[in-house]
Each structure stands twice: as structure tokens, then as C-alpha cells.
Symmetry: C2
Subunit: 226 residues, 2 copies
Amino acid sequence: MTKKIKRMGKASTPTRTQDPEGTRQDILEVASKEFALNGLSGARIDEIAARTKSSKRMIYYYFGDKEGLYLKALENAYRLVREGEAKLDTEGMEPMEALKRLVEFTFDHHHQHEEFIRMVMIENIHHGQYLERSKAIRDLNVTAIDHIGRIYKRGIASGVFRKGLDPIDLHWQVSALCFFNVSNRATFSRIFGRDIGATEAQTRLRRNTVDMVLRFVAKTSALPRD
Amino acid sequence: MTKKIKRMGKASTPTRTQDPEGTRQDILEVASKEFALNGLSGARIDEIAARTKSSKRMIYYYFGDKEGLYLKALENAYRLVREGEAKLDTEGMEPMEALKRLVEFTFDHHHQHEEFIRMVMIENIHHGQYLERSKAIRDLNVTAIDHIGRIYKRGIASGVFRKGLDPIDLHWQVSALCFFNVSNRATFSRIFGRDIGATEAQTRLRRNTVDMVLRFVAKTSALPRD
DNA sequence: TACAATGTACTAACCGGTTCGTTTACATGA
DNA sequence: TCATGTAAACGAACCGGTTAGTACATTGTA
């Protein structure tokens, strides 16, 4: 039995009931969710197929095998967030403000893309072995360093940032705080009996995260007295 | 065929070839490694059984089912690290030094217990649903808050720490940095082409982590000029 | 003897992957 | 305009290895 209605139309524009790119995309989106939810070994090809507008046959037709599908889902996740990150422009701001915005943006961005965070967690469980195979992903993330690096350089020039820090280290620290906020929310919330994901808690954690980064980078002289 | 040699001995002390507690412990240790390595769905009961001095039959005899075994492995992981953490005593130190030690200790401790970190990652992938079932685990971690809370209070009293911070938030921040250092090492290293796990990198990250926490908590007046 | 601990062999369901056949799109040609 | 060849796109049913879990018999211990 056919379980779904294909897009119809015999109009003049070449509409077609066969839609390779659409099918491919549909599978990829469903698979991304399934892998993010259940992990590589936990995800079920049959389940993915069932949620698809297509079939299991097509998964293997387009993606070869389960690992091939997972890899594409992983690449897709990185590509999506990268596209979002590119939107932030801090070039006009003064360094301290720019860094603040960058941290806030990263914090919010991670918060809004739990699926991506989960894919990265899962990939780390697999020791990054699939990411290793994907040149596409490695290229994407280098620009993040560029961004924070430029802000830092400007802050040094204007005398508000401490010298001797490394942009990658900075990126690491910002990532750590923003990533952990999403990745460990479940266990942290349950252990300490407070819902870390609730808006009030998030507001406070966000402020703390910004504070923490700024206080780390800023010269003592550029800090408020307290 | 019996695949292993049982502890022998017909001595006067009641040695026995049947060793329930030993078998149980053996299974748990093997299972912990397998789950930490492959996740809940990725781990194989047959594989665990094979690595055991015992058999699959015994796994079900003692742990009921796969999830029961996983839960015990999870509890075991938490219990082990908790025991380690209890060893740190900062009561005699002055607050700033005590906090420094606590962060260093946490950083090192997480670094040395990758298996635990992986179990927590895996549990978070499962939305903490197994941890939820375990009262045992929740009880363990509250003492961590106690520790950092006491240090913080002393720091406030002696005037070196800023007021208005929350011990749980502090714990969150320390955890985030120390946890991320282990959990995301694979993807981070691969993306930025530097081995984050190498000793030089770790030394720098450790120092940065300590700095970051101290600068966050300390009053500006208690900070070095720069 | 009674009960806890253990070994062996088995099963039923699951699940990744495939076989085989069908439909659709579209170019070609008359 | 329509018949036709063909390759891509698709569906359904199937397969065989894997895997969690069990039945049953046996041994050790108190």
C-alpha cells in the first residue's frame, strides 16, 4: 500500500511525482532527528523509513548504508549551525561589547539547536571517527576562530583585553560553557532538582557565562569595581 | 567448556569456587567498560559475557535485564568518582587557594576518569531517564555543592569573593569547563587539528580553567593588576 | 536436603541490508 | 502526436545474521 500522497500536477511547469532531491532531503531530515534522538546504534533504519515519505529501499539507494546516512546527517547538522553563525556581525562594535555579543549569541544558538548538540555528543561517543572522514565539516569551523580572533586582536589594540591569550583557547572556553548548558542539562537538572532549562535559570546562566568570559579576557583595569 | 580458572583452595578458611559477590563485581566492571565504550544500545550482552569470568546466564541472574545492568553500571560510575572526590580537603586553606585547589582537582579528576564522563554523556543522550530511577545517585552529588558552598562562604567572609553568587551555579561552571575538556576532546581536536589531550595543551587549559573561575568569583580588588 | 549459584543450549524477535520487479521521466524518432 | 527505449526512481517482500532473553539441568554450599 502506498502510504502517502505524492505531489500531483500535470501543469505546464515540469512538476513530477518523482522527486529525487526532495526524497533525499526528506530522508536526511528524518534521519537527522532519529540519530540525534537515539544515537547511531540506537536509531532504527525501519523507523526512519517509516517516518519518511519514502521507503527503506530509498535510504539504501541514496545513502548506501546506515553509517553513510549517519555521516550525512552529521554533516548536515554542522552545516546548518554554521549557516546560522555566519549571520552574526560584530565588526562595528567595540571589543568588549563585541565579545559580549559573541558569547550571548553562542549561548542562545546552542540553546536553540539541541539537535546539533546531541549529534556532537554522539559523535564524541564514537571518538569523532565519522567527523574524521568528513573534510566538509573541518572546513566549516575554522571561521569561528577567525571571528573571536579578530575581536580579541582589536581588544588588545584598544587596551581592554589581557595579552597572551589564544583565540582557540578562548573559543574552547566559550564552547565549553555554552555546550555543557545543553548537553548536560538532563543529568544536572535531575541531580540538583532544579530545571536548568527553565527560563529564569537560563537567564542567570547566560549572564554568568558572559560575565565569566569577559572577566577572563578583560584587563583588571577594565573591570567594574565591586 | 569452562573458559577460566576459578580461585582454588580447600584451606581451612571458607574459600569457595562459588563466589557470588566476586562474580557480580566482575560482571559490573566489564559491563561498565562496555557501556562507557559503546553506549546502552551499542553495548552487546554477549560481548560483555565473553569478557567476563562468568557467563550471560549470570548477567541475567544478577541484573535482570540489559537496562538493569546499565543502571548498576551508571550508579557504579557515580559512586567511584564520588569516593575519589571525598578525599579532597580544603578546610584549612584560605578561600582563594581552596577554590583553586578545588578547580584543579576537578579538572584532573575528570581527566583521569574518562569512563565516568562517557557514562554521563550517554546518560544525557538518554535524557537522564535511568539516573531518574536511581535515588542512590542523586544523594551522592549534593555533597559537591556543600564543598564549593563552604569555600564560597568563607571567601565572602574574608572579603575576597564577590557577593550574590550561587554555589550551584559555581559548581555548574566548574563542571562545564572540566567536563567539556574530556567529553568533546575528540571532535574539538579533530576540527582544530591540535591534540587537546596532549600534555602541553592540557597544562594550558588547566591553567586557563583555574584562572577563569578565580577571576569570576574574586573581587576585582583581589585580582592581580595586568 | 534445600537453596543459591552456575553452565548449556536454545528461541523468538529484531534489524540491517538485499532481491526483484515496477513505475516514472524523458529523450528519440517517425 | 504518439510509440518506444532506457535509465533513474521507487515499492514490497524477503533474508540471514544478530541479539536480548530463557528453559532446564547441574553443581556447590550450608
